[in-house]
Subunit: 425 residues, 2 copies
């Protein structure tokens, strides 16, 4: 039986003591800022405009003097100076591959094997040398397929470059090639496993699948449990983007995603740019020590929460507890950020609530938050329940709102968790 829990891809790096990591991160930051300043004209300009010289960045806190570069602006930055908007440190002809994300936005891949850094996530998820892995990410235009493919090879796995779709063939291949590992979205894994079951193949009875690394969409614990209990598959999730590669990965403990040591990650308040404390929601901002694409304070637009608590797996990094949404879905109410995820949290914290939606209005410079609540049983509506909901919402948002019980068919714009009706002059 293979031990899929113990083991690291780079134990020294992953288990570094805090002081050593702080020192390594300091050195990495200095080198990255210098490299980007010298080779990426857009970063040089951003720093010059802010009056920051590379030598000024000695400590992580100095980094805050450099403004962020927003992922949402990449499209315009690239259009301004094609193809990479001055953010790449080498010309296109010196790159290994160039990808095209929807937009289109161009994503460079350098010639270094370490460009995307997915080896650690695979090992942490239990993938081992000799695994035969079905890679169901797309290889065309998007980098997802190839970045996982090549990392798998580097840890000694055999890859089936399957791409997405073709469920029946996927199930057949999973069986006939005795596939032991899967990488792709969690929902597609469930689709394949259900198709395989329909075709008569289940774990131990045709299927050999043991581990999965999933990403690209929300991965609820209930789905993880089904993979484990119904199909004998241990699935771990990871987080990354087409711009920067790996940004976090679960270990066998599966309580949050370890932040890779080779990058510098901040969680910042999207409004002030200040770092948020552990446990608070902030935007993921990355400084990427990459020879080809040395990004300095790249704001991903993803919102997450960091934890510094020690992890029993032995990895000493901080962990991203979960992804809670996108910056552009955040609403500021009475000076506080409220995020759709928090509305969803409310529904999960009060048992009687089926779904919730916040509607924000403004009278005389005063914000008003109405919490429209659909109950599982409409007859349960009561002032006492409304009070409990108000309290739960305060715990989550630190804001006081007003409850209004509505029927399911009264939900306006059901795709929105927060409806902002305020008018601004």
């Amino acid at each position: 039986m293979i031990d899929r829990t113990r083991g690291f891809y780079d134990e020294a790096l992953e288990t570094m003591p805090a002081a050593k990591r702080a020192q390594a991160q300091r050195e990495m930051l200095r080198a990255t800022v210098l490299h980007a300043y010298e080779h990426a004209p857009a970063t040089r300009k951003k720093m010059d405009d802010a009056g920051v010289r590379p030598g000024d960045v000695k400590e992580p806190s100095d980094l805050r003097r450099i403004p962020v570069t927003r992922k949402a602006d990449l499209k315009y930055i690239q259009k301004g100076e094609p193809p990479f908007g001055g953010l790449a440190a080498v010309p296109p002809r010196a790159m290994r591959r160039i990808y095209v994300s929807p937009g289109p936005t161009f994503d460079p891949e350098g010639r270094d094997a370490t460009h995307w850094r997915w080896e650690k996530p695979f090992v942490a998820a239990g993938f081992r040398e000799g695994d035969i892995v079905q890679n169901t990410f797309m290889y065309h235009f998007s980098p997802a397929g190839l970045m996982f493919d090549e990392a798998l090879q580097r840890i000694g796995c055999t890859v089936i470059p399957a791409g997405v779709g073709n469920t029946e063939l996927q199930a057949q291949v999973m069986k006939e090639l005795s596939v032991t590992g899967y990488v792709g979205t969690p929902s597609f894994l469930m689709t394949i496993l259900e198709k395989a079951k329909e075709m008569g193949y289940t774990s131990g009875d045709g299927l050999s699948l043991q581990v999965g690394l999933v990403t690209g969409e929300m991965f609820p614990e209930s789905l993880r449990a089904r993979f484990r209990d119904e199909f004998g598959v241990e699935a771990r999730q990871c987080y990354g983007t087409a711009d920067v590669g790996s940004l976090g990965y679960e270990c066998h403990v599966a309580k949050g995603m370890h932040v890779p040591d080779e990058i510098f990650l901040e969680l910042i308040d999207p409004a002030t740019g200040d770092p948020v404390p552990p446990g608070s929601i902030g935007e993921v901002v990355v400084t990427l020590p990459n020879r080809t694409y040395p990004l300095v304070r790249f704001a991903t637009g993803d919102l997450s929460i960091l934890s510094d608590d020690p992890c029993p797996c032995g990895r000493t990094s901080a962990r991203l507890l979960k992804l809670v949404g996108r910056v552009d879905q955040v609403t500021k109410i009475k000076g506080m950020f409220v995020h759709p995820e928090q509305v969803t949290q409310l529904a999960s914290k009060v048992a009687e609530v089926s779904s919730a939606q916040f509607v924000v209005t403004r009278t005389d410079h005063d914000d008003h938050m109405e919490m429209r609540i659909v109950l599982k049983d409409p007859a349960a509506a009561s002032d006492a329940l409304a009070d409990r909901i108000v309290e739960a919402a305060r715990g989550i948002t630190r804001l006081r709102g007003e409850v209004r019980f509505i029927a399911a068919n009264e939900v306006e714009e059901p795709e929105k968790k927060i409806i902002d009706k305020r008018k601004w002059d």
Copy 2:
């Protein structure tokens, strides 16, 4: 201006004198047969059954004692002993990737960088370090995309893994990333170039495309001329399969496809298994010195013609003049093989002929070949023309047939060049 004509990927190998190549091929054959015998159980069995020991194969002519393994049978061979039917020399877990061709048939890829050998074809086609290449072959399940992708990187190109489809995005990317090279089918290249033109991009006016390597379907000279004259693109073709990789590639002279030095290629009479002389049609049979998949006499099912004439490019290998069809389309008439390509040849050799179709019948153990001829001008029908057609057909097939002039709407089963109406007990 880049010189895209001169230059080799491996000059010493590609320009070897005949005696040196013969010696190299002899050594390669001996080593391959020994490696396959020792590590691929199906090859060992095939040789044992034929009473051939590895040491018996000293000269290429000795190889003929070993029966061919037919590509068309792979599906059954693999089903008999999954997944590789005993033809692979290493277990699946030691492979780099595993692909799935329709069937499904599994195709192994070894961990050696030389597994598919597409570097020489790219250099011969004029691809150079620094080219930015749009790879429009599919990366999913089929090996085509990845085998070209990785060869391009090894010669120093930058790859855009585009896959097939998405014509408008392909044209946009070709322009915005200043793509200089294309690999894919010739028809898809024409589709992209026409779409680009429609969008206002042409060679020198938005597009930078200069070279193309095309394969996967017939590549008529008229299409090559259009790429060159209308779009400023020099396109070269190559030939290979998902089982064995590169089997032939055009140089800048573009008169036939050079046979790679690293494999042993025979053209055989599909009936007798004897080698056919240069200029005659035979089936391509490959012996592949691959550590992972050391095939011995793998019959591809493709029919081609070899030429030994020297090529002005300096490469000294034999060339496959063209691919003329598939073995399974061959019909045996009066003991002679007749192939659809020969029927097409007839139409091209007699100017008055628009199209031809052969219909074979049998009376008293005697085959009868009727040549149904559609003329460009039906009024041209005459006994003298019929005689010329009979003579032309004899030159091509060595068979005497009988001409019947028909109208275009009388053609039966137009997709067939040969209709076999013989009954066999």
